[in-house]
């Protein structure tokens, strides 16, 4: 088959000028392909180096596991949420002329997952900071080791420059809360309210335990908060009932007291309070080796390509200058 390339030239004078200018400032992709082909050995070497580095990186980073939990709003949480809106608290708020916006328990739960208060409890009960930042903490004695290395030195120097406190001391609960915020991925399905928590770790048992403890502790935290507030309401309403003399007022206070006592009872039963676990924690291995090798391989190709084109351009400019 013969290919004719004729009839590619533009016709009208304006077209000619515009197209000529356009093409003058254009880059021929065929030319670039030619340059890449000329530098194919550089590209191949660069690609092999990239692949080798990818294999090394996958080898040294070790195995990864992901723990997953699926959560739903607990039954008690929805009941409480509704009763809050139109119930006793709403009535008291209404009597005082204020409006009380009620936040659903499940929303509170999701916000509290990465709160410092929950992190503090995790730290106290399970020494979680020491286990999460295992490289900086002795797992037997739970004593923090002095941080060494380039990163610690650099962070220390930057903090000193800015007049900030020394950053390489023991990890705090706030740091654990920040770690949870970054490491635990929360995915909310708006259609069915299902929430999925993902957490990756090199240790599969620890990943599952970490997620379980986190969910349990956050549930307990929300429950204890509610219990404390409801107890105060019950105490207040009991005192008011004792002093009320008007029958109608006394009846109203009795109703409110009854509602608050029901709420208090719910906080003392050992059931999922804000979030109930639908599934998990399930632990699955995460194989990132192929992805890592592919990324480094592609990076190698790009770097090799840039070197090949750059070398060609440099040689052309040098030739031009000599001429």
């Amino acid at each position: 088959m013969t290919i004719e390339q004729a009839a590619f030239e533009p016709q009208s004078p304006e077209s000619s000028v515009v197209i000529a200018n356009y093409l003058k400032r254009s880059i021929s992709l065929s030319e670039i392909m030619h340059q890449l082909w000329s530098g194919r050995i550089i590209i191949a070497v660069s690609f092999v180096i990239g692949i080798a580095f990818g294999i090394y990186s996958a080898w040294t980073s070790g195995p990864r596991f992901v723990a997953e939990m699926k959560l739903l709003p607990a039954e008690s949480s929805s009941v409480e949420g509704n009763s809050n809106a139109g119930g006793a608290l709403g009535l008291i708020a209404g009597l005082t002329g204020a409006s009380l916006g009620s936040v659903p328990k499940f929303t509170q739960f999701l916000s509290a997952l990465h709160s410092t208060s929950v992190a503090e409890i995790l730290d106290k009960k399970y020494a979680m900071s020491c286990r999460v930042f295992a490289g900086d903490c002795d797992q037997q004695t739970h004593q923090w080791r002095k941080r060494k290395g380039m990163r610690a030195w650099f962070n220390g120097m930057m903090a000193a420059l800015s007049g900030l406190p020394y950053p390489n001391g023991p990890h705090t609960s706030t740091e654990l809360a920040q770690y949870i915020d970054g490491a635990v991925v929360v995915t909310i399905d708006k259609a069915n309210q299902l929430v999925k928590l993902d957490y990756q770790s090199a240790k599969p048992k620890f990943a599952a335990e970490f997620l379980s403890r986190l969910v349990q502790t956050t549930n307990d935290y929300i429950k204890s908060q509610d219990r404390a507030v409801t107890r105060q309401y019950v105490g207040y309403l009991t005192a008011q009932t004792a002093t009320a003399t008007n029958v109608a007022q006394r009846d109203a206070l009795d109703q409110l007291l009854l509602q608050q006592e029901r709420k208090l009872m719910l906080t003392e039963v050992d059931i999922p309070y804000a979030a109930s676990v639908l599934d998990g924690p399930t632990v699955m291995p995460v194989n990132t080796a192929l992805k890592t090798i592919a990324i480094y391989g592609i990076l190698g190709l790009i770097v090799g390509g840039l070197i090949a084109v750059g070398k060609h351009e440099l040689a052309a400019r040098l030739r031009k200058r000599r001429a």
Binding site: I3, Q11, R25, S26
Partner: protein
């Protein structure tokens, strides 16, 4: 036969020209792999490789810079909006391929811009005639709606997108030379049979652009009155147009889209998602290709929507409009670039340049208003025509400035 084919002389330029124009009409979706894959993509890829082998594939330095800028901007946006890099990569690759290909074809061909418009309009006319012939048999096929003309496309809206520039072109030529009168009537009939609100608005825009560049003030005023009468008549005559108009009005005024038709729901639900996304990321957007993730995040906020509508995720990938999509994905910069491009390249004078502008501008407004794909097959072909038309006009103005006494 093989020997005959092997010995046949193939004119590459002719093949590239005809296959390029044919590819514009191959907007039939054959797969969805993160992006919509259309029937014409293999042709474009093959032709691009062919141009590469014969050293006819070019990218202007500013073109490369614009794509690189878009990619870098999107990567920065994605950092704040958690848009996956693969979403950005697929869009950037698609835009690069399509834009480089169509610009290369148009700049390396011997065809003038008018020749390209003529050839494209002839193909369009063929598609329109096929649409009329196929219309009585549509009900027997399972492809697209049965009672509205859609020719070779899945829906009438695509037919409108792909043929509107041809109508604009023929209308402009007819006013000057009285050619293509019958062709225009055939197109008119297909638009009536397509019964598409977009089509009617498109025809209105074609008329408006012709009027503004040709008529005096009083004639333009008279035309505007005629336009209002035509609009009222259309509202009465077309139940499809009326439904969309009324549904949109009530949905907007009552802030309730739960009772609207699918088309109105598509536009308004995507407008809601865009608005929420814009509030979260007004300056950087979420990065090119990130709209679908915002859609999944926000669409659940709308209450009372029929489950069927939510299940089919109407326009989840393209936001139903390029104006909406760029606002969500590139922040305030996106619509500014689009409107700036349309406005700047519309600044032409002289019959030859106005004819192309008047044919393409209504298409861009309709296409960008109701379809948000970045690299559907026709877009960069018309973008290249529109831009080169402006560049040729600027070049002719410079030449006339250097030759005193010649009025452009």
């Amino acid at each position: 036969v093989i020997a005959a084919l092997a010995n046949r002389r193939v004119n590459v330029a002719e093949y590239i020209t005809f296959s390029t124009v044919a590819s514009l009409f191959m907007q039939q979706k054959i797969a969805q792999v993160g992006i919509d894959v259309f029937l014409g993509y293999p042709i474009v890829i093959f032709n691009a490789l062919l141009l590469l082998t014969i050293n006819r594939l070019y990218a202007h330095a500013r073109h490369v810079l614009a794509i690189a800028g878009l990619a870098i901007f999107s990567i920065v946006s994605a950092h704040y909006a958690a848009t996956p890099i693969k979403a950005i990569a697929s869009q950037v690759i698609g835009i690069s391929l399509m834009s480089v290909y169509y610009f290369s074809v148009l700049t390396t061909s011997r065809f003038s811009l008018s020749d390209w418009m003529e050839l494209y309009a002839k193909f369009s006319f063929g598609v329109a005639v096929f649409g009329i012939l196929y219309f009585p048999f549509q009900r027997f096929g399972a492809y697209g709606e049965s009672d509205r003309l859609h020719s070779i496309f899945i829906e009438p809206a695509f037919y409108v997108h792909l043929t509107l520039p041809a109508i604009g072109w023929y209308a402009n030529i007819w006013l000057r030379t009285r050619r293509y009168g019958w062709d225009l009537l055939v197109f008119g009939l297909t638009y009536v049979l397509a019964d598409s609100a977009l089509g009617f608005i498109g025809l209105g825009l074609v008329a408006v652009f012709i009027a503004t560049s040709r008529l005096s003030f009083w004639k333009a005023t008279g035309s505007a009155i005629l336009g209002v009468i035509a609009f009222a008549a259309l509202t009465l005559a077309s139940s499809n147009f009326r439904t969309r108009l009324i549904d949109t009005f009530f949905a907007v005024s009552s802030s309730d889209i739960s009772k609207s038709n699918l088309s109105t729901f598509a536009v308004l639900s995507n407008a809601y998602v865009t608005f929420q996304t814009f509030l979260d990321h007004p300056f950087l957007g979420v990065g090119i290709g990130g709209y679908q993730y915002q859609y999944q995040h926000y669409i659940g906020d709308l209450s009372g929507i029929p489950k069927d509508f939510l299940d089919i995720q109407v326009n989840m990938y393209d936001a139903s409009s390029l104006f909406l999509r760029t606002t969500a994905e590139l922040g305030i910069v996106g619509p500014l670039i689009l409107v700036g491009f349309l406005a700047v390249c519309a600044q032409v004078r002289g019959v030859r340049y106005l004819e192309i502008r008047n044919a393409l501008l209504p298409f861009f407004i309709i296409r960008m208003g109701r379809y948000g794909a970045y690299f559907s097959l026709e877009l960069f072909f018309f973008v290249a025509l529109y831009m080169l038309n402006f560049m040729e006009y600027r070049s002719s103005r410079r030449n006339s400035a250097s030759l005193p006494g010649i009025d452009q």
